[in-house]
């Protein structure tokens, strides 16, 4: 019983991490709807946000099922405070401009896709099923963000400067995605989730080669900014949740 309880608690946290990354990034990216610099990119970000919201439903639905207290995906998304959120700090960073938004998306997608590929082999069938579905969408997202990073990095002088500024600001947040804590180690030992150390090496190698293609340079020796996975967030998350959760807070239980 002890083992089962421990597994469930860890898996609950893990499902929150995956789901919270998706919902917070979806909320950020969705804010471009109606404001992107070109209609095609407006549509692209809206579609990426939609995929991420769908993935949120799957991950937070699983979290609620594991927790077994009757909370569904909506309740987990709309009724938890910032300290209970488990997303990495990267996804809550502000949109700033199109360059920052794209760079944040690229740094996330470049981790998200290989992570989901690895999770397709999870010892937990529910995790593997979600990963199988989400991986195809994440691959499509990565194809787009890689393409745009290279085109804008290796673009005009202004686009290159903006992309470099975005990379300088956001690169310190990339490390958290592959920084394993005790929970990650526990899940890796149980073959439920991959070894983040090995994933991290491939992630950094991929970033290095793609950023080189984009003529961009990652900052050297930047300290890794982390804490989100344990619920210690930047000030930005509270504002995101205030916006996202307003309706359920003001009108508890409201449904469409």
């Amino acid at each position: 019983m002890t083992t089962a309880t421990k597994t469930d608690a860890a898996l609950f946290e893990f499902a929150l991490r995956m789901g919270d990354n998706a919902v917070v990034l979806a909320q950020r990216v969705g804010a471009w709807c109606g404001h992107a610099p070109a209609i095609e990119e407006d549509i692209a970000f809206a579609n990426v946000a939609l995929d991420l919201i769908g993935q949120t439903r799957m991950w937070l639905g699983l979290a609620g099922e594991i927790e077994g207290k009757g909370r569904d995906a909506d309740q987990l998304a709309f009724l938890r405070d910032a300290r209970a959120y488990r997303n990495a700090l990267l996804v809550e960073q502000p949109n700033v401009d199109f360059a920052h938004t794209l760079m944040r998306q690229f740094l996330f997608d470049a981790w998200h896709h290989p992570m989901l590929v690895a999770l397709k082999s999870s010892a937990d069938a529910r995790v593997a099923d979600i990963a199988e579905k989400a991986e195809k969408e994440a691959r499509y997202h990565l194809e787009r963000s890689e393409d745009l990073i290279i085109r804008l990095g290796d673009g005009t002088e202004e686009s290159r400067q903006r992309m470099q500024a975005a990379l300088d600001a956001l690169y310190p947040f990339a490390g958290e995605l592959c920084a394993a804590d005790a929970l990650d180690a526990d899940l890796a030992a149980r073959k439920i989730a991959p070894d983040l150390g090995a994933l991290g090496e491939r992630y950094l190698a991929y970033l290095k080669s793609t950023l080189a293609d984009a003529t961009l340079t990652a900052p050297v020796g930047a300290a890794v900014r982390k804490g989100g996975k344990q619920g210690l967030h930047s000030e930005h998350l509270g504002y995101i949740l205030a916006d996202m959760q307003f309706l359920q807070r003001a009108y508890p239980g409201a449904t469409w």
């Binding site: 195809k136 691959r139 499509y140």
Partner: protein, 179 residues
């Protein structure tokens, strides 16, 4: 639980009253009449969304799989399927969602591809494995048949489509992306 695949064998158990329990094949033929809410020229069966139809006790269980995990049409499709079956006199119907195997455009048959094209949507090119391997598929313009076409955006008006245009007839069109 009694399971029968689409062209399944005779179900081996005492037959209930005919009106109360239609054959599985009959149910599939009803579902072939349920249009996709966004692309009504093809049915939910054409798109490969319906994975199985089973009797479980007195319940008719329709197993469906989402195209894209956030596609807003998914909920409408489940409602439409249940409503269609109830309209045919089966009261106890349940919709079950199944994620694996993940939906792929490879499940869209040749006839459905022709219907998409006639409707003005270029059907998916090649196999779904082309995602990632084939970033620039050659897509035929569904209006004039020209192969001189180009991608405008990797995304489109619904999650399943990308935006393209024809360099010959100059018309924009939707491409049902390989996935």
């Amino acid at each position: 639980m009694v399971t029968a695949q689409r062209h399944g064998e005779q179900i081996d158990r005492p037959p209930p009253p005919a009106a109360a329990r239609p054959a599985i094949d009959q149910v599939w033929s009803w579902l072939e009449e349920v249009p996709d809410p966004e692309i009504p020229v093809v049915s939910v069966v054409d798109l490969g969304i319906v994975r199985a139809v089973d009797w479980e006790g007195d319940d008719l269980v329709v197993t469906v799989t989402p195209t894209y995990s956030g596609c807003p049409a998914t909920a409408v499709i489940s409602l439409d399927i249940a409503e269609s079956i109830r309209r045919h006199g089966v009261e106890k119907v349940r919709i079950r969602s199944q994620l694996s195997p993940a939906w792929t455009t490879d499940w869209i048959g040749a006839a459905a591809r022709e219907k998409l094209k006639a409707y003005g949507i270029a059907p998916p090119e090649g196999g779904a494995r082309c995602v990632g391997d084939l970033k620039n598929p050659v897509v035929e313009c569904p209006r004039c048949g020209s192969m001189a076409t180009e991608q405008v955006s990797r995304f489109g008006s619904t999650p399943c489509k990308a935006s393209w245009r024809c360099r010959d007839c100059l018309e924009p069109f939707d491409y049902f992306k390989s996935f």
